[in-house]
Each structure stands twice: as structure tokens, then as C-alpha cells.
Symmetry: C2
Subunit: 189 residues, 2 copies
Amino acid sequence: MSTDARESLLRAAQQLYAANGVAATTPRQVIERSGVGHGSLYHHFPSKRDLALAAVGRSVDEALASSSDALNAHTESRARIAAYLERPREATSGCRIGRLTADPFVAADEDLSASVARYFLDLIGLVADVFEEQGLDGGVARDRATAAVAVIQGGYVLSRATGDEEMMRAAVRGFLGLVDAPQRPEGDS
Amino acid sequence: MSTDARESLLRAAQQLYAANGVAATTPRQVIERSGVGHGSLYHHFPSKRDLALAAVGRSVDEALASSSDALNAHTESRARIAAYLERPREATSGCRIGRLTADPFVAADEDLSASVARYFLDLIGLVADVFEEQGLDGGVARDRATAAVAVIQGGYVLSRATGDEEMMRAAVRGFLGLVDAPQRPEGDS
DNA sequence: GTCTATAGGACGATAGAC
DNA sequence: GTCTATCGTCCTATAGAC
């Protein structure tokens, strides 16, 4: 079937991009992992860029959907934030989207860069909505959501750098400990 | 002079690694930027790995020294933390050390990976010392320091992804806003 | 120590048969 | 749609003259 080869190629590319990034992933690797032939790759995706656009776009959609699921798994806002922050992650592998910010192939392509930017802007929006539920002012909620997403992205960097899953957990504990501390009421000096 | 060529090569490599990473930086680029000849590069650094070890090691030392400077620019612990978090950064360029966690060339080399790991472990140690000054328990201080370093690394990712320096500032505001909230005394329920 | 010339291989991509 | 064969380029590294 024609969609099978295309599907295999996309899946293989997504896995290889997650492990090594786009720039360092070669057509040969995609071919070997997917099991299709050289000719098929260039039939379905005329250039490396076409494959990257499709595979990265799909990874972004999947990552947004699964973050959204974690945020909506509870009703109380504190539990929703904690569910997002404490979601199981293979932290020492790094974030498959976040790592693309350091990828030369992505940086050189406007459309690929736009996919990555959209991921983070949408994600921060989802988290900010939950902080607003807590009655926080919109600007404060957005700053706090940006910090929360940054803690996760930084946790990936630290866990990958040290090869230690515990770094992600420590960063999340450090952040959640602050969120759980009694908050100053609005307008207090 | 012999040290001049070596010095030029190292500086060029550091700049190129900061912009594009190690894997994507070719000998040709290093030669052109440094102004030395092809033969000189391979005289001073027999392989790409040798150049990378020297250049990355130096970038790590420089980054640790400048973080240490920021943390020691004040006496009061809150001001020291804020000085580290709010230090001027070219956030949209990404962290020159943090980006190496996504670099295939670094990942494939134990010694390069160890340099990057050392950077983050030492940096977290420096920040944790300041939180301990505030009277925090050692474990809590370390978690909070890990979160602080993660916020900066994540801020780099977010700023680079969106091309917006404001993302780093928002993440820092979000985190500092929590640190500045009145803290629950030790042992309180 | 620095130069030019070049090796051997992998890269992204294309051609044309089936 | 998939195959094999091949192109031109750039890569990292070496050779050997100066």
C-alpha cells in the first residue's frame, strides 16, 4: 500500500530526529530504519526538508496533545499543574521538540522554526489557562506558566547533560515547592 | 608565533560552536574564521575531537567563572540569586553550553559529555550554596537551585524557539515572583 | 609551523528501468 | 511506487614540500 511506506518513513524519521536531531539524520538512516527503499523515500518526500516538515509537524501535534491530556486529567488547578510537571518523561533523552532549537537544519528553515515556536507558544497558553483558574492576574499567570514550561525544558537539559533522571525530578520539586508555599494575597505589600 | 595560531583557532571554534554546535562546525569554517591555514589546524589539533575538547573545556571554564561573578556581585542572598537570574544574556542565541546536550558529536564522546555535565553540576552547586545561606535545608536548597538553573536553561530554549528575548525575562519573573512570596517557616504544617 | 594537493568516504539528490 | 546505479559536493584527515 502506498500509505504504508509513507507512514513507515515518517515514523522512522520521528524516532531518529528524537534521538539525533534533523541535521544529523541522513536519508540512509531513515531508509534502513523504515525498511523501505531509497527510491521510495524520494518518491514520497522529494527532499530532506519535505520529510522534516512532515515528521516535525506531526511530533509537535503529538506532543501538544499529550501535554493537553496531562493538564486535563484532573479538575483542581493545583493537581492539573502537578500532573503536567510530574508526567513520566525519559528526561535523559532530552525533549524531542526542545532539542530542535539547537538544530542547524531547523534554524536554517523558517517553516521548521515556526513549527517549534508554535509548540512552545501553544503549550505556554495551555498552562497559563490553568494558573488563571487559580485567580491569578493574566500577566502573572503567563509569567508563571512560562517559568513552568522553562523548568521542564531546563530539566531535560540537566538530565541529559548528567545522564541522571533525578535532575528533572529535583527541578520539578524545587518549582512545585515554591508554588505550594502560601501565596501573598493580591495587593498585599 | 605558535601560540597565536592555536589561540585564533580556539577562539574561532568557540564562536562557531556557540552559533552552530560542534557536529555542524567544519574544519573549513574554523580555518576561514581564524585566518590560519589548513595545515596549521591539523598541526595544533590532530583531529576534530582534539579541537572540540580544548574549545569546549575553555567555554565551560569561562561560563562557570562568569556565573560565579554574578553570584558574588552582592552580599545579600536574595540579591545574589536575582543577579544570577537577571544577568544580561543573548537569550535568543541559546546557551552555548546547554545546546551541546543536543549535539550528536558531543553525545558520542565521553570526555566532551563529561565537560558539559561538570558545568551543570558545578553551577547548581554554586547556586545551592546561596540558597543554603537563606537558612534552607540542604536538600531543599539543592532542589531550588536545580529549578533556578533549569529556568535559565529553559528560558534559553523558549527564547531561541520564539526568537523573543522576552520569553527568558518572563520565565525569570515567574520564578522570582515565587521565590519572593513569603515562605512557610520550617516545620510548619 | 605552515603550505598545497589529495585521499577515501558519506552526503543529498537524480536518472531511468521495471 | 519501487528498484539500482550514479552524480557532484563536501566532509575529515593525511602526505610531503618548504
